[in-house]
């Protein structure tokens, strides 16, 4: 069973717009990571935020973490058609490895 929830389930935006995806989880975590998946193939690591961090940036990506609310958000700025993919948050705990959310399907229209 999934221990994380993501919203929205699907998001459609125009190129150049920003995309925001949210993730909530139920248990304590060591860290939270975001992954991208193109067309049901392998997962590509995007960014990691540790439980004692509140915000991290990597290029056009910004991730926030609120451990009191057990939630995280991923912001992709100035989106491109190549950003079209499914995005997953993954909560890491030793022993359970990664617990993935159900994902957000992002479509960036040219």
């Amino acid at each position: 069973s999934q221990q994380g929830e993501e919203d929205p389930q699907a998001l459609s935006i125009q190129e150049g717009e920003n995309a925001t995806m949210n993730c909530s989880y139920k248990t304590s975590i060591n860290n939270l990571q975001w992954y991208r998946q193109n067309s049901g193939r392998g997962l590509v690591h995007l960014i990691l935020i540790r439980s004692n961090e509140r915000e991290k940036h990597s290029g056009r990506l910004r991730v926030t973490l609120d451990t009191s609310k057990k939630s995280s958000s991923l912001l992709i700025t100035a989106s491109r058609a190549a950003d079209t993919a499914s995005y997953f948050c993954a909560m890491f705990n030793y022993g359970q490895n990664f617990v993935f959310g159900p994902g957000t399907r992002l479509s960036v229209l040219p």
């Binding site: 049901g40 193939r41 690591h45 993935f100 159900p102 994902g103």
Partner: protein, 113 residues
């Protein structure tokens, strides 16, 4: 450097059959993890192996088993296949049991008919 290699890419099996999926980790990585991803859902953790020992197990029935070889490659076996076992099976390798640095392969698409 080669990434994580999984074989075969696609596989079709009949209910009740057995299947073996293979994974070769990145050179130098000693841990392999297996995930099942049903269509439309996020991946679910099946097993993690490190130095040929099982170090983590998800909530899957005993029909699922795995092993890791001295060269750190791994096999996932599924017996008595059910239609519900149809999924993308992903392998991830990491240096050890640290909480970062996992690299995923492209997966094996298993269809059970």
């Amino acid at each position: 450097d080669a990434g994580v290699t999984q074989s075969p890419t696609h596989l079709i099996k009949t209910r009740g059959q057995q299947v073996t999926l293979r994974c070769s980790p990145i050179s130098g990585h000693k841990s392999v993890s297996w995930y099942q991803q049903v269509l439309g859902q996020g991946p679910q953790f099946i097993f993690q192996y490190y130095e040929k020992e099982e170090r983590g197990r998800g909530n899957f029935p005993d029909r699922f088993s795995a092993r890791q070889f001295p060269n750190y490659s791994s096999e996932l076996n599924v017996n008595a296949l059910l239609l519900g076992d149809s999924a993308l099976y992903l392998c991830a390798s990491s240096l050890d049991l640290r909480d970062y640095g996992y690299t995923f392969g492209s997966g094996t698409r298993l269809t059970v008919v």
